[in-house]
């Protein structure tokens, strides 16, 4: 009898479920079930500031979420899209050089790309606050070069927020793009060159299309956390750069307006999911993992 499963896996009834059960129960209790309570909360109403919200199919929370915070929604997705584009531009050359020219140093170089992220996320963002600070050397240099006006600043601008998002989520772009590039057989590029393709054309027609799954995965890994972030806008931005994360955080933990905050979170998640699907269709690749 020939085993037709190349991985030699076994057919079994109970064993896999027993192994899965504890983890699945955990995910049900602390991931799926909370989403349900959040949905319920988003349809509750709160008669007064100190009363507990009660569930009564109150759809007006969703209307409120959109009409009051439409601006923050647009801003979050714009900033996240810009940051994703910026990470792609910075990460692609790094991943390319490591994958094709890294030689024996591949793993060390890849490790170097991850090392900065062993410091805490907040501390890294605070470091950017120092770098972009009004009294820092960077702003002084830009002012004397005339790039910035004499009273111009970097901190508390949209540029600083997008820059912070770009930096903080960069490794999520470098790693998947590297994995995709590393898989490419270099002989394919040689073949293209033998057929008289220029380096640029060989890149455009061979390397780039083959690296798209990595670009896709990386873009999702950057876009989703960037759109929901509130730390960068908090430290590097101003009242004019608040994102949806700042609003959700403020509504939940400061204003204690749970129903509207829950509706906001749901709308936010829905938009993220829809943009992910649209993006997947546009790029024509659907294998996420």
């Amino acid at each position: 009898m020939i085993d037709r499963d190349p991985e030699g896996r076994k057919r079994a009834r109970l064993a896999p479920w027993l192994l899965l059960a504890p983890g699945m129960v955990w995910l049900f209790l602390f991931f799926f079930f909370p989403l349900w309570t959040l949905a319920r909360m988003s349809l509750s109403s709160r008669p007064s500031r100190f009363a507990n919200p009660t569930f009564d199919w109150n759809w007006s929370n969703y209307g409120d979420a959109f009409s009051r915070y439409g601006e923050q929604f647009t801003r979050s997705f714009t900033y996240a899209a810009l940051a994703t584009l910026a990470t792609l531009c910075i990460a692609y050359p790094i991943a390319y050089v490591i994958a094709f020219r890294g030689g024996a140093w591949k793993n060390v170089l890849l490790g170097l790309c991850v090392v900065p992220f062993f410091t805490n996320y907040l501390i890294r963002t605070l470091a950017w606050k120092t770098i972009l600070g009004d009294q820092g050397p960077l702003v002084e240099a830009l002012r004397s070069l005339g790039v910035l006006a004499a009273d111009g600043r970097l901190l508390r601008t949209p540029l600083a927020v997008v820059g912070g998002l770009t930096y903080n989520f960069l490794p999520f772009m470098i790693l998947p793009v590297y994995v995709a590039l590393e898989k490419i057989d270099p002989r394919l590029v040689d073949a293209a060159r033998d057929l008289y393709a220029t380096t640029w054309r060989a890149f455009r027609k061979v390397v780039l299309p083959l690296s798209l799954p990595g670009v896709f995965a990386g873009s999702l890994l950057v876009f989703i956390p960037a759109a929901g972030d509130f730390v960068n806008a908090y430290y590097l931005g101003s009242a004019k750069t608040t994102m949806i994360g700042n609003v959700v955080q403020d509504q939940f933990l400061v204003q204690v307006d749970y129903p509207v905050a829950a509706a906001l979170s749901f709308v936010f998640m829905a938009i993220v999911m829809v943009s992910v699907v649209v993006y997947a269709r546009l790029l024509g690749t659907e294998d996420l993992a």
């Binding site: 499963d5 079930f33 910075i90 490591i98 900065p116 062993f118 040689d190 992910v276």
Partner: protein, 292 residues
């Protein structure tokens, strides 16, 4: 003809002959090098400012060089206590998540069964949900007593943080171990059992040692994720429990003592050492077992 051969030969050695190609190549290398510099710029600033003697409460503008902060790295008691809380949370979350996640990965790679695909999808979902949504949903869960959780009212604090951290680590562990298990030679198990080993003995003496590096990698990842997490923790921490990131966030409104930079530098050096040691151990082990 000669020119053609020369071109082929030079290409075989991986060199580009045309000047435009050489410039392009140089530009790509330059972009990559600039990218690496950019990656390390904030790290350089963090380390540099651990030697700063700030005027006032904020360590944001360079004043003068001092070794004082390094002479007394644990001066800020609240910060050190918060780091202790973070380490304990990460320790517990890592052990539980690694156990649960590894079992799930084994089930998905080892067995063929109905519902395997769906389970895979359910596992990926927590990884694609934005952190603020995870945090917000857990907060609503902990606020309201419900029959599913035995009508228990949770007090926000250490327990709720650990529960949340285990949740987001489980998926990462399962995905990491699963990726490492792909290509595992399951016939080794059959071989052990053909030689008379019981299933338990086979698992403990053959399977487990071979998948250990994958499990350790997953454990390291979940430890790193847990200790660094701010957004989800911020929602479920409550007023009484303070982890390292929460302490920094809360404090940064009124002060940023240079000890933050000293501790951050220590953590960075420590993690790099652990990573380097782990890689070296993995290589030596692979060579000893003849896997390399």
């Amino acid at each position: 003809m000669n020119a053609f051969l020369a071109r082929r030969r030079s290409r075989a050695r991986g060199t580009v002959t045309s000047p435009a190609g050489r410039i392009g190549r140089g530009l790509v290398n330059l972009a990559a090098a600039a990218g690496l510099v950019y990656l390390f710029l904030p790290i350089f600033v963090i380390v540099l400012f651990s030697f700063n003697k700030p005027k006032g409460r904020f360590n944001a503008v360079w004043q003068e060089f001092t070794l004082e902060n390094w002479a007394d790295p644990f001066k800020d008691r609240a910060l050190v206590d918060a780091l202790g809380v973070s380490l304990r949370v990460a320790g517990i979350a890592t052990v539980v998540a690694t156990f649960l996640g590894t079992l799930m990965a084994l089930a998905l790679v080892r067995y063929r069964f109905r519902g395997g695909q769906v389970t895979n999808l359910l596992l990926v979902l927590p990884l694609t949900a934005p952190e603020i949504v995870l945090g917000a949903s857990l907060l609503t869960l902990f606020l309201e007593p419900h029959i599913v959780l035995a009508n228990r009212q949770f007090t926000l604090g250490f327990t709720t943080i650990v529960l949340a951290h285990i949740m987001f680590c489980v998926s990462y562990v399962a995905m990491t171990v699963k990726a490492r298990l792909r290509g595992f030679d399951w016939t080794l198990e059959d071989a052990a059992m053909d030689l008379g080993a019981t299933p338990t003995r086979t698992f403990l003496r053959v399977t487990l040692p071979l998948i250990t590096p994958g499990i350790l990698a997953a454990a390291l990842l979940s430890f790193a994720l847990s200790i660094d997490d701010f957004i989800i923790t911020y929602f479920v921490a409550g007023p009484a429990t303070t982890t390292f990131p929460i302490r920094i966030f809360g404090q940064s409104r009124t002060a940023t003592p240079p000890q933050i930079n000293v501790l951050a530098t220590m953590i960075l050096v420590g993690s790099v050492a652990v990573l380097a040691a782990g890689t070296a151990w993995g290589r030596r082990r692979a060579r000893r077992l003849g896997l390399a």
